[in-house]
Amino acid sequence: MAKIVLENVDKVYSGGVKAVDNLNLEIADGEFMVLVGPSGCGKSTALRMIAGLEEISDGTLSIGDKVVNDLPPKNRDIAMVFQNYALYPHMTVEQNLAFGLKLRKTPKPEIERRVKEAAAMLGLEPYLKRKPAALSGGQRQRVAMGRAIVREPQAFLMDEPLSNLDAKLRVQMRASLNQLHERLGVTTVYVTHDQIEAMTLGDRVAVLRDGRLQQVDTPKNLFDHPVNLFVAGFIGSPAMNFVTAALTENGTGATLKFADHTLPVPAETLEERPALRDYFGREIVLGIRPSDFDDAEMAAHNSGTMEVVADVTEELGTEINVIFTVDAPPLEHEDAAALAADAAGDGDDEDGVGAGLPLARDKSVFTARVNPRSVVRPGQPITLAVDTRQLHYFDKVSGLAIGHPANVAAKA
C-alpha cells in the first residue's frame, strides 16, 4: 500500500491536445479517490498515466515516495480493472486470476492460496473452471476485480468498472466495492462519469473538466460547498437550479430578485461570506439545490418562499420532483453549456430532467424536490419554501463560488 502523488502532471498528445493540464493530486495511503467528470475531461488519461499505459508529458508521478514516471506498468506494482474487463478469453477464470502471479514467479502454493481467497471473497468458486464467455456480465466484472485482488498490489486503478453493468447490478456491485475497500484498505483510484458512483464510493472525489482539476473534497463538501458553477451543476441529482439574480442590500441583510421572485439572504450567510457584500447592487448567479425546496405547507424551514405553477410532477414515492419554469432567461455561462452538453450526451442518466422541457424556451427550468405527501398537481400553483441558508452564490463572469475558501485563498 502506498500513497500516490501527482505533481504538475501534464498530458499533451501529438497534435497539441492537452488532455491533462497541470494536475496536482495527493491520494493518501488507503484512500478511495474517485476521479469524476464529463466524457473527455481527462480522468481516464490521468488514471492511465498512473498505470503507466500512457506516457507523462510533464510533471512527476510518485507511488509510495518513489518517482515512477519512467517505469513500465509491470514494475509499478499496481493492478487495474478495465471498463470492458479485458479478461483473457482463452483462459479459465482460475487461469485468468493466476496469470499475473505466474508471470511474477510466485510459488505455486501461494498462487493457489490467493486465487482461492479472492474467489471466496467474490463468490467465484463455482466458476473457477469456466471461461469468460460462459459468465454473465456481473461475474466477468468480479473476475476482473479478482485479477486485481490476487496481485495484492500497492494500489488499485479502476476505469469505469461498473459502467457495462445494468442498473440493478451496478448498485449491488457498488456496495460490494465499498465493502471490499473497507476490508482490503488498499489505495484505490477510481474513474467514473457517474456522479452517484463518485459520491457513494469516494473517500474524496476529484472533479475534472477539460483536463483541469476543479475541486477535490469529500462528497459532502463537494455537495455543500462547490467551488464553481461547474462542480455545483455536475454534483447532485437532480442538478442544481441556476438563475441570474440581482443582489441588493436591505438594512441588516440583503435580498435576491429574479423574475417575480424575491428571496432574503440571511444575515449569517453575509457574515460567513463577507465577499458577498462586494456584489451588492450587481447581478450574481444564484444556485438552489432541488432538495432545498419543499412544499411550504409541510416545510420545516421557511426562510423564503416562491409562488410557482408546477409544469410537471414526478412522483417517486419517497419524494415528488416538481418541475416549473421561472420567467428569467436560462443561464448563459460556458459552464452551464458544458453541463447541458454532458447531460444530453449521457442517455442513461436519470438526472437533467428539465433540460428537455419543450415549453421552456427562454425561461429557466427549475426542479424542486418536495415532500411526497404534498398535494401538488401539474398545472396547479404551489407555494415552495426555500431553505435560504443553503443558497449558492456564483460570480456571473468567472463562475466561481463567491466567498468559497478556496477562491478566497486564490485571490489573496
Binding site: A51, G52, L53, P72, P73, K74, I78, A79, M80, F82, Q83, N84, A86, L87, Y88, P89, H90, F99, G100, L103, R104, R147, R151
Partner: protein, 310 residues
C-alpha cells in the same frame, strides 16, 4: 417504436437474403456440379484400364464398368519412365511443410509487431509490405535466383555469399523463395486479425507483468489460432500446387523436385500415355483434399473471424 415491421436495412442484408434463398441455392448447386465434373471424370478415368481410356470417354464407365489399380501402381512404384511419383510425393511434403510453418510463424511475429509495437516508421513499413502484394512474383524470380547462385553484391561489395547447398539442404532455396513470396499476404491477413483484438487485453497483460514475448505467446497466439490455421491452409495449398517456383528453384534436380514438376514433365514427354497422368493427378490432389477436409472447420471460421466481432 417508429416502425413495427423490420425492413431490409442495408444492401448487404438484402444480398445475403437473396443469395441464401431457394433460387440462389439451386444456382450454387448447379455451379458446383459443373465445376466438379471434369475432376470427377478424371477420377473415373484413373481407375480405367489403359486400352479403355484411350478408346472411349469416361462416361462409358457407367455402361461398361472395368476397374483397375494398374495406373496407380505404375505411377507410384513403376520404372522411372512410368513416373515414380512416390519419391516426388515426399519431396512435395518436404517442400510444403517448412514453407508453411515459416510463413505462418514469421507472419504472426511481424503482424504482432506491426500492430502492437510502437516504433518509428511502422505505418510506412506496413504500407510497404502491403504494396508488395501488387508485385508479381515472376518479377522477383531472376534477381532471387542470382542472389542464390552468385550472392548479393552491392556496389562491388559482396554482402551475401552465394549459396551452394548440396544434398538435402538444396531444399533451402525453395523454402526461402516460398517464404518470401508468401509473407506479404500472410502479414497482411494476420495484421488485420491481430489489430482487431481489443487494446485493453494488451494493457491488462502489461499491467499483469507481461512483456511483448509473453503477450505474443500466451495471449495473442491462442486467440488467433483460427487465423493461423487458415493462413496455413492457404499457404500449404499454394506451395503444394505451385509449379513455377519449384521449377525454377528445384526443377533441375530429381532429388528435390516436387510432384508438380514431375507431372508437368510427364504431360510433356508422355502425352501419349495419359492414363498415367490421370492417376498422377489424383496422387497430387489427395493431400490438398485431406488438408481441406480435416481443417475445413477452421477454414470457414478463419475467413469470417476477421470481419465478425464476437
Amino acid at each position: 417504436m417508429s416502425d413495427p415491421t423490420p425492413r431490409p436495412t442495408s444492401a448487404a442484408a438484402r444480398v445475403r437474403r437473396r443469395l441464401s434463398g431457394r433460387v440462389g441455392s439451386a444456382v450454387a448447386i448447379v455451379i458446383a456440379l459443373l465445376w466438379t465434373m471434369p475432376t470427377f471424370g478424371l477420377l473415373i478415368s484413373s481407375f480405367r484400364p489403359e486400352q479403355q481410356i484411350k478408346t472411349t470417354g469416361w462416361w462409358t464407365f457407367f455402361t461398361d464398368p472395368q476397374v483397375t489399380l494398374q495406373n496407380y501402381a505404375d505411377v507410384l512404384f513403376g520404372t522411372s519412365s512410368q513416373g515414380q511419383l512416390a519419391s516426388y510425393f515426399i519431396n512435395s511434403i518436404v517442400i510444403s511443410l517448412p514453407s508453411t510453418v515459416f510463413v505462418v510463424g514469421i507472419a504472426a511475429l511481424a503482424a504482432y509487431a506491426l500492430a502492437w509495437m510502437d516504433f518509428p516508421g511502422r505505418d510506412w513499413l506496413f504500407l510497404g509490405i502491403f504494396a508488395l502484394q501488387i508485385v508479381p512474383l515472376q518479377m522477383a524470380l531472376v534477381p532471387l535466383l542470382s542472389i542464390f547462385s552468385q550472392g548479393l553484391v552491392v556496389g562491388g561489395v559482396q554482402v551475401l555469399p552465394a549459396w551452394e547447398f548440396q544434398g538435402a539442404l538444396e531444399f533451402t532455396n525453395v523454402w526461402v523463395a516460398h517464404t518470401i513470396f508468401g509473407l506479404p499476404l500472410g502479414i497482411f491477413l494476420l495484421h488485420n486479425f491481430i489489430s482487431a483484438l481489443p487494446r485493453s487485453l494488451f494493457e491488462a497483460a502489461r499491467v499483469d507483468g507481461a512483456g511483448h514475448g509473453v503477450i505474443f505467446r500466451r495471449v495473442v497466439t491462442p486467440l488467433i489460432v483460427p487465423a493461423l490455421v487458415s493462413l496455413g491452409i492457404f499457404q500449404f495449398l499454394w506451395v503444394w500446387n505451385d509449379l513455377l517456383v519449384a521449377l525454377i528453384f528445384a526443377g533441375g534436380n530429381a532429388d528435390v523436385a516436387p510432384l508438380t514438376v514431375r507431372l508437368a514433365e510427364m504431360a510433356g514427354t508422355r502425352g501419349n500415355e495419359w492414363q498415367r497422368l490421370t492417376a498422377g493427378a489424383f496422387v497430387s490432389i489427395v493431400v490438398p483434399l485431406l488438408v481441406f477436409f480435416s481443417l475445413q472447420r477452421y477454414f470457414v471460421r478463419g475467413l469470417l473471424a476477421g470481419s465478425v466481432k464476437g
